[in-house]
Amino acid sequence: MKKIWEFFKGTLVLVAKGSKAYYTWLLFLLTLMTIGTFAYAYQLKSGLIVTAMRDQVSWGFYISNFTFLVGVAAAAVLLVIPAYVYHWKPIKEIAVLGEMLAVSAMVMCLLFVTVDIGRPDRFWHLIPKIGILNFPQSLLAWDVVVLNTYLVLNLTIAVYVLYQMYHRREPNKAVFNPLVLFSIPAAVAIHTVTAFLYNGLSARPFWNASILAPRFLASAFCSGPAFMIVIFQVLRKYTKTDIKNEAIFKIAELIAYAMFINLFLLGAEVFKEYYSNTIHLAPMEYLYQGLKGHSDLVPYIWTATFFNVTAFILFLVPQTRENFLTLNIGCVLIFTGIYIEKGMGLVIPGFVPGALGEIYEYSPTGIEILLTIGIWATGFFVYTMLLRVAIPILNGDFHVGDDGVTPVIGDDRFIVRRPGFVSGRSDAEADLEASA
């Protein structure tokens, strides 16, 4: 018990220490979080009328962000499979970073749902036994269960692995392996359930297509990993982290496959709607062409389509995939493209035209945007805190002392530029350098 307490105190010391850049970054995030908090306070006081949501479009920007972030949380599984199922070393070293991203994304998801509901004071109604969770009838009840499970699962795995590394021990396989293996179907479950949440509504033909859940999964395996690739490069440039190029290129290759499936499924959907040309085509027409002169979403969805196709080509061709400039362009394109497609591009056409054919054009208000920025900042804050502890453990700067209790902290800067350091080199190159 004392060991855990000392470890915990050590992590507190760690997060409080850092370079100027670290403090500046935290201050920046805290400022955005404060603005978001004020926006939320204002929304609580006035009601959701301060958003652009109305009876016609009863879910908007918050739920769009929520849906997208459930996808980002999948990043973990794309790292966990090569790391723990195939024991591929370059990724095994960094899988914990993916799990932490999943934790941060889940925190954001829960925050987005919280700010979207009309009576957050009644959240306890969802707790089984104390309140009433309508399980298994309501897919939202399922979502509450799987999202929270996934959050706790990833947090447990990450903390356990790091705690063992801190003690310079290997994780206990009997405990660890079942947890990691369980996290794979759990990642699939959060997507499937979130897709079913929309999919099960016969009132909304745009969502009521069985291709929705597969599309969710495919796009999730693009957006989360694309984010990871960028984060990995930032980490190895500004912190003492060694991430091999092979790991990054392998992830990029996996993204290319996922994006192909995503585009294929989208094509299948577009064909079915346009060729059969029933009244259920209307939402897709609204999205891609505009309906009766209403075309707010049209430029966005075409941008997203262009981004996704371009990124697919960049990631497919080995030359552009293994060139950091084009790779990073591809990552940004994918992240933005999926953000539009799986966010507003998915949620809004579900409501337009409405159940009785009415067209209401939704675009978020200033309050919705500020609140959303605040939640994203919170997510980055959580991720930064987690990384602040994880990275020194991974590179050996934070470990238990010789007495087996007191923590040893070898890094009190965290975010620093590392001039002259060549990251991403292969082991062979490193050996060559060492021998020279």
């Binding site: 926006a39 204002y42 929304q43 109305r54 016609q56 879910w59 969802l126 009415e358 200033g366």
Partner: protein, 320 residues
């Protein structure tokens, strides 16, 4: 006949300003004004919260309350509403009548689109006047196209109705036998009563609006802000599951005027009573002598979106 009010009329909007610009301008101005004041609202319930607020906060789902607890809740609500509206407000919790299953008939050949029902409903059921909440929507349809919702016009506002070449179709909660809204509610805040009425416990709803996404008839409405209900216009005869004043942040819907129809002797729903053309019919589906049964047996009825298998208790028909 003259129409009553276009839903859009009350919100004047200069032509030069788009909706987005307006929302942004309003929200920005309000944001600056309200930001500081709003922080206090974060604490729920705050230090100043009275015992009543705590009782309200901790109240169980209506269906789990004992008879004694229902009485306590009702006494508390009556006190709260009477103080707020400065009149003697009554809140009933009349249970379903045995052997009754409500059914509704709407004669499309008679409706002239005057919207009397829309406003009769608002007056009876204490909907918010600002912003406007209406449980009935009247669609103007083209005779040539028939019941084609994609070409429906909601904001029609001619000098006189019916407009040539058009017919009208009011839509409200269809009180489905297999209600998708009930199925999706994560906390069982909405359910179907044994007499067929789909109700909402406004004190249990968490405001997630999943039911609104699930409803194929646009029958559910959300309290986006605190209801604007002038004391003078407030109907003090209320039912817990029906027309009592709704709090902010919850969903509401048509209840076939539960506060009227469940009484003995009962009254017709307000929309049936106010309709000047006799378009609207209401009765007990289990009673072979009822008017609604006569209509089903002798006219040709249809239900809206029958392909979704929601099995409405709301029947449209053409009597002539």
């Amino acid at each position: 006949m003259k129409t009553r009010g276009n839903p859009q009329e009350d919100r004047p909007m200069p032509d030069t300003e788009t909706r987005e610009q307006r929302i942004f301008r309003l929200s920005r101005r309000k944001a600056l004004k309200g930001l500081a004041a709003g922080v206090g609202a974060l604490a729920i319930p705050g230090r100043k919260a009275s015992a009543l607020t705590w009782q309200d906060f901790l109240q169980k789902n209506f269906r789990e309350l004992t008879r004694a607890e229902v009485e306590t809740v009702i006494a508390r609500l009556e006190k709260e509403y009477s103080a707020r509206f400065k009149k003697d407000v009554k809140v009933k919790a009349t249970p379903p009548i045995e052997g009754v299953l409500y059914g509704y008939g709407l004669d499309l050949s008679r409706c002239i689109g005057c919207r009397r029902c829309v406003y009769g409903c608002v007056d009876e059921n204490n909907q918010s006047r600002d912003p406007q909440i209406q449980w009935i929507r009247v669609l103007q349809l083209e005779k040539e196209k028939g019941v084609d919702l994609e070409h429906a016009e909601y904001y029609y506002n001619p000098r006189e109705v019916p407009a040539p070449g058009h017919f009208y179709m009011p839509v409200q909660c269809q009180q489905c036998r297999l209600p998708p809204c009930v199925k999706v509610c994560p906390v069982q805040a909405t359910w179907k009563e044994i007499d067929g009425i789909v109700v909402v416990d406004y004190n249990w709803c968490i405001g997630c609006r999943y039911c609104m996404a699930a409803c194929p008839y646009g029958a559910r409405h959300f309290n986006w802000k605190k209801a604007g209900l002038p004391a003078g216009e407030m109907n003090p005869e209320t039912h817990y599951l029906g027309n009592r004043p709704r709090p902010v942040g919850v969903v509401e819907k048509c209840t076939f005027c539960i506060q009227r129809t469940r009484e003995q002797p009962g009254k017709y729903p307000a929309c049936v009573e106010v309709c000047p053309t006799g378009t609207r019919k209401f009765g007990n589906l289990l009673d072979p002598e009822s008017e609604i049964r006569y209509i089903i047996e002798n006219k040709r009825v249809f239900i809206l979106k029958e392909d979704l298998n929601t099995q409405p208790q709301f029947y449209y028909f053409y009597a002539t």
